[in-house]
């Protein structure tokens, strides 16, 4: 930790001139006498205060202007994390835990005062001692990013990392991931690593693991139990089923979506029950059959990011679509209304896009249900314009799939064929 984290201008000068740094134990004479430890300061704060953790544990901001004297105590207690290390137990299955960041690996960040994903995979493992009784877990950090900062190049990095373990003695791989974009990552892994021989499980949490009520531990335990008990090939998302701590849901990685901003049970399988429900000592199976529709593992770890997801709405300006076309995009996934529609005002632009050989796919902003473009005349118009209905594929999944398909195939007929082919349970009956 830097010695003056967050201090700037006058407050930084004040610390320096008094020869104190963050972590020092001090006695400050102001309107009263305060004893405590100098704490880091958040960015975006003013530079008129210093932050002190009083002996009672409370943090307070003291106005520099009022401080008469600062005394440094001899015994300084540096803020050093004590780290736990877990010894493996013979005979237990092995699991690889890859951390990418997210709330699940978060604790306080003194830069902003909010939480940040800085726990290492080892710390995460050590903070849930129950895991060591179920499996021997090797932990690695890939990166420490929140969901919104996870980019397609991160998907590639995760997929490449996992690909290294095609032939390993791991029973499964757990990926700690931010929840907001977890289903994009799970989709990409599903397509790019189709047929991977051991389960890949993405786990996140809605409450950071630095709090007693965190859902992180139970989600991790659920994922570990799932891998060691059921062990089916596939890519899954494991999160709380609802607000209670006793049931964990395991969703298919291409049929899942985050449907609430903050609840523990935010993740839902669209159009069905979660594939597996992990309760205290049993796993209920709602999904039988194969996740991957191909038997052999055939990694295709490539993608093309020139695919846009267009949510149509009343008043959508067709010029926006023209812009996308002009920017050289190779695929457009529409999130149409109802059964899969966009307004007449769009037709000209759609024609233009088609003329450029861009892949055009239709999904529905209803999220649940199937697009059906033959029911109304507008749907038929759109079919004639060359928009491909993508059945009941979730819009975000269709976007990721199009990136992957276009990144790996070049013939437009083939692109269309694979887009409609069920690769990793992204289409369901």
């Amino acid at each position: 930790m830097p010695e003056y984290t967050g201090y700037e201008g006058r407050s930084l000068e004040f610390l320096k001139s008094n020869n104190i740094v963050v972590g020092d134990s001090v006695k400050i004479l102001s309107d009263l006498t305060y004893s405590g430890i100098i704490m880091p300061r958040y960015e975006h704060s003013d530079n008129m205060h210093i932050v002190l953790k009083l002996n009672s544990g409370y943090n307070v901001g003291l106005e520099i202007e009022k401080i008469k004297k600062v005394e440094k105590n001899e015994i300084t207690r540096k803020i050093i994390e004590k780290k736990g290390k877990i010894e493996p137990t013979q005979g237990l299955p092995k699991i690889l835990l890859l951390s990418t960041g997210g709330t699940i690996a978060s604790k306080i960040d003194y830069r902003t005062g909010a939480v940040t994903p800085i726990l290492t995979a080892d710390e995460l493992n050590a903070s849930v001692p129950e895991l060591a009784k179920i499996a021997n877990i090797d932990a690695q950090v890939l990166f420490s990013e929140y969901s919104e900062n996870i980019m397609p190049e991160h998907w590639l990095a995760v997929a490449k990392k996992i690909n290294e373990f095609e032939k390993s003695d791991y029973s499964g791989i757990i990926i700690a991931h931010g929840t907001d974009t977890m289903h994009y990552t799970s989709s990409f892994l599903s397509f790019s690593l189709a047929g991977f021989p051991i389960p890949i499980v993405l786990v996140g949490s809605q409450r950071s693991s630095d709090r007693a009520s965190s859902d992180a531990a139970l989600n991790l335990i659920g994922a570990t139990k799932f891998i060691t008990t059921s062990n089916p090939k596939g890519v899954y998302v494991v999160m709380h089923l609802d607000e209670s701590d006793n049931t964990i849901a395991c969703h298919l990685g291409t049929r899942v979506r985050k449907n609430h901003t903050s609840k523990r049970g935010a993740f839902q399988t669209i159009g069905g029950s979660p594939a597996f429900i992990i309760a205290e000592n049993q796993i209920q199976e709602n999904f039988s059959g194969d996740y991957f529709k191909i038997k052999e593992y055939q990694p295709k770890i490539k993608l093309d990011t020139k695919v846009a997801l267009v949510k149509y709405h009343p008043g959508y300006d067709p010029n926006l679509l023209n812009q996308i076309v002009e920017m050289g995009y190779r695929g457009i996934i529409f999130e149409g209304t109802g059964l899969g529609h966009i307004g007449k005002t769009m037709y000209e632009s759609v024609k233009k896009a088609k003329g450029k050989g861009i892949f055009l796919g239709m999904t529905s902003q209803c999220i649940d249900g199937r697009v059906r473009m033959t029911v109304y005349e507008s749907g038929r118009d759109l079919l004639n314009l060359g928009i491909i209905p993508l059945e009941n594929m979730i819009p975000e999944v269709a976007l990721v799939k199009a990136m992957w398909v276009i990144g790996n195939y070049h013939d437009s007929e083939e692109i269309k064929k694979i887009m409609l082919q069920n690769v990793a349970s992204e289409l369901s009956d």
Binding site: D31, L32, Y34, Y42, S45, H49, V51, K53, L54, N55, S56, G57, Y58, N59, V60, G61, L62, E63, R77, I79, I80, E81, K82, I108, D109, G113, A114, V115, S127, Q206, R207, S208, S209, D210, R211, A212, S213, S214, A217, L218, D242, E243, S244, D245, N246, T261, S262, K263, R264
Partner: protein
């Protein structure tokens, strides 16, 4: 055993007052706290101890975790939302609660911080869904004056109230969420030397300052006081005693706690003279087999429940568990409290045996089986197998602590009979973690000035003012001010012409008397009280009817005034009807009137009131009777 004298131990006491604020909103969401027994939402959680900001675990949190209860929450959507369920981040700090806490801090001349950091205080007993209580230190320093001497203020915090415990069921603890998140102001005084009698007075004075703001809740459960007790030779150990319900209890609790602490020091000294240490492998043994035939009901029940009977041997400790430096203070009791805390009942120590169905031959067998020497002591306890090490470790470390360091640093709970019992280890600074969901709160110069301007009048001034505005006597003014009805009282007087002394005495003594007779004043809502006085003002009921109406409502027989009036056949009589009734009575008793003249009013009053009680005041009936009697003469 020696006699304990409170004056010899140099007792110091600090008070902590927790007062709910009357904002009608919660501290970090817009929910209204409503008492309820209907819960449509139910969910189950487990809490885990998390590391503090400094990378340490809090001892209290670890201890709670070792009890490993699973928690069931019950919620009503009217009084809680996703925030209380810990399913949504907190909203912004309620401005009213902030404003009131600044006024209170200013009234106590406390130094308010210009940058306040909301913190998470770890609480993993389940009383907070988050596993922590949100709390912020508003100010430090300041004082209040009681009888001319200054009592220092240590700190003033603004925090969330906890969930309401609904009960335990096996290893499941149940909570209701309606109270969770209600704003509380916590005021802690500096430790002061005072005899236990003065403590009550200081607590009362603090409560009165709070009530002077008229922004705090009143009534049962809206104010709670904890007391910190230390003694001169206690090595700086301060014991926090929670849950003192009534001020009357304070005095006894302080005295008991001082006695316990001084007694523990004596026990400690004696322990230091004994050569004892605990060997994990030799000194704790499962001896369930040896007790299979024991006649003790407690032991047999425990064996039935599949618990193990564990014996812990203490070399050279014979007599130590039963040693009682003061009445009711023993090492044996300290251990028993700890066991009970884990929800277990059975613990016996060798100094009290044979007894409780454990017979001499049980003891002889045990001693032979474990080769216990005569000068050793032992504890026999019933524990579920998986908890043996956790519990035995707790017992051993507590005894080590008493021997090596004296008084263990506990948080304790006041009991009904004025003693204290072990609640949990005292939490340390490691239990505090910054609340990362809420940015620091800045207190502007404007807000400080506003708070200064709004400092309420002192209690004495408020009482004087009440007396002069409403022309009520001192006692009534004090009573109404301390009661939960002060605002209602002022409201009723403002909106009706009913005599203030009458209103105050109904609110203070009539309702209190009904309460003492076992009725429930919480059933009587303020709106109904207000309505009753309006009906009285319209002369639709007599003064005497009020008690009858309130009694009916407080007994749960009716829930509003109209209903109660119906049930008790209280009707209104209009003036012409009344005239007729009185005239009729006088006519029917013409002979009596002629004979006794004006004195006939006595018996006639009886006859008239039989018919008119509760409908018309006696005064009116009397006047009318007299008028009619005189007409007849």
């Amino acid at each position: 055993m020696s006699e304990f004298s409170i004056n010899d131990v140099g007792i110091k006491v600090g008070l902590e007052i927790h007062q709910q604020l009357a904002t009608n909103k919660k501290l970090f969401c817009g929910c209204t706290p409503i008492e309820t027994e209907e819960y449509s939402i139910k969910f189950q959680r487990k809490l885990r101890a998390a590391k503090s900001e400094l990378g340490e675990y809090d001892p209290a949190a670890l201890f709670e975790k070792s009890k490993s209860k699973s928690i069931l929450y019950f919620a009503n959507p009217e009084s809680s939302c996703l925030v209380e369920q810990d399913e949504e981040p907190p909203h912004e700090l309620d401005v009213d609660a902030k404003r009131i806490s600044l006024i209170i801090a200013s009234a106590l001349k406390s130094k308010i911080f210009s940058e306040i950091y909301p913190m998470r205080k770890t609480v993993v007993d389940g009383s907070n869904t988050t596993g922590f209580q949100r709390t912020m230190l508003i100010s430090q320093g300041g004082y209040l004056e009681v009888d001319g001497s200054k009592i220092g203020i240590q700190s003033i915090c603004l925090e969330e109230d906890a969930a309401k415990i609904l009960g335990d069921e096996g290893s499941v603890r149940k909570f209701g969420l309606e109270r969770l998140g209600v704003p509380l102001v916590e005021i802690a005084t500096e430790p002061f030397e005072a005899n236990p009698k003065h403590i009550k007075k200081i607590a009362l004075a603090l409560g009165r300052i709070l009530r002077s703001t008229k922004k705090v809740k009143r009534g049962l459960g809206s104010i709670r006081q904890d007391v910190n007790v230390s003694i001169k030779d206690g090595g700086g150990v301060v014991i926090e005693v929670k849950g003192v319900q009534q001020l009357e209890q304070l005095e006894k609790v302080v005295e008991y706690e001082a006695k316990r602490q001084h007694g523990l020091l004596k026990i400690s000294k004696k322990l230091q003279g004994i050569e004892w240490s605990h060997n994990k492998n030799e000194d704790r043994k499962i001896t369930t087999e040896q007790f299979k035939k024991c006649k003790s009901k407690i032991i047999q029940n425990a064996i039935k429940k599949n618990q193990e009977i564990v014996t812990i041997v203490f070399k050279n400790m014979r007599g130590m568990f039963g040693y009682s430096p003061y009445e009711g203070i023993r090492l044996g009791k300290e251990v028993a409290e700890l066991i009970r805390f884990f929800g277990l009942g059975g613990v016996f120590h060798s100094d009290e045996l044979p007894n409780y169905g454990i017979e001499l031959n049980d003891i002889e067998n045990l001693k032979e089986f474990l080769k216990i020497k005569n000068n050793a002591a032992f504890l026999i306890l019933a524990v579920p197998f998986e908890m043996i090490d956790i519990i035995v470790d707790q017992i051993i470390s507590r005894i080590y602590h008493i021997r090596n360091d004296g008084i263990p640093i506990d948080t304790r709970l006041a009991t009904q009979d004025g003693e204290t019992k072990f609640l949990r280890p005292r939490p340390g600074a490691a239990r505090m973690y910054p609340e990362t969901d809420i940015p620091p709160i800045i207190i502007s110069k404007n807000e400080l000035e506003l708070a200064q301007k709004n400092i309420p009048k002192s209690w004495d001034e408020s009482i004087k003012e009440l007396q002069s505005i409403y022309e009520i006597n001192l006692q009534l003014a004090e009573q109404i001010f301390d009661s939960k009805y002060i605002e209602l009282f002022e409201n009723i007087i403002k909106n009706t012409n009913v005599n203030p002394t009458f209103v105050a005495s109904i609110l203070c003594s009539t309702i209190t008397n009904l309460e003492r007779s076992g009725l429930d004043s919480s059933l009587l809502k303020n709106d109904e009280i207000r309505k009753t006085f309006e009906i009285l003002e319209q002369k639709k009921i007599a003064k005497e009817s009020i008690e009858i109406i309130f009694k009916n409502i407080m007994a749960g027989k009716s829930d509003n005034v109209e209903d109660a009036m119906n049930k008790m056949s209280i009707e209104t009589v209009d003036e012409t009807d009344l005239e007729k009734i009185i005239q009729k009575i006088v006519d029917e008793n013409e002979q009596l009137v002629k004979n006794q003249k004006e004195r006939s009013i006595g018996p006639l009053m009886g006859i008239a009131m039989k018919e008119l009680r509760g409908k018309v005041s006696g005064e009116t009936v009397n006047k009318l009777l007299l008028k009619n009697i005189q007409k007849k003469l």
